[in-house]
Symmetry: C2
Subunit: 115 residues, 2 copies
């Protein structure tokens, strides 16, 4: 079936889409920025820049990091970061539900014309 993803543009600037949200989810799951980046095929630098961008957009961290220690440090979502991921996924779900009939029409048109 046709699936929908959403990109949100915030004022005055800031863009949130499936890539950044997936990175945050991976980060929560794996406990580090580099592991999350690796899981998505991106460099540590790229992953770090995306997290830094999100922190800047909202004027408060979405990710917190700990240095060193026996476990070699790590990263986790802040409560605000978790809230952001939940809100994004809720928007996506609402959007998909609301447009289900149109998406079906599109996918059907495609099937029909390919036969």
């Amino acid at each position: 079936m046709a699936t929908l993803s959403v990109r949100i543009d915030l004022e005055p600037r800031g863009r949130i889409g499936p890539g950044k949200i997936r990175l945050l989810e991976k980060l929560e799951e794996l406990g580090s920025i580099s592991a999350a980046g690796r899981a998505m095929g991106m460099s540590y630098r790229r992953a770090w820049l995306l997290v830094d961008e999100l922190n800047g957009v909202f004027g408060q961290p979405v990710v917190s990091t700990r240095m060193g220690g026996a476990s070699g440090g790590g990263a986790a979502l802040t409560p605000f970061g978790s809230e952001l991921v939940r809100t994004y996924r809720a928007i996506e779900e609402k959007a998909q539900e609301a447009s289900r009939s149109h998406l079906t029409a599109l996918q059907t048109a495609m099937g029909r014309r390919r036969r």
Copy 2:
């Protein structure tokens, strides 16, 4: 306010997002692929490839072209191309409406934390 754009992934392959739809709208408005591309800051080649990709995805043209003549040829949406643009915009509108309260919450969170 926060605005939402949607990307639609169709099976078995094919992706439609705001860029391709805007290109089709510009093409309808300006009557040529090159003018539409120019209006969006892309080369003729890039614009042509996007149109060609869309034609391939649906197995029938979304754009028809005329060669030469006094007006130097031109391009227009096919009825199916127009239907595609309308359906995409309808999906976008439904998605935006359905998620309005979440989008407002996100934009408000941003404003609050920036103060």
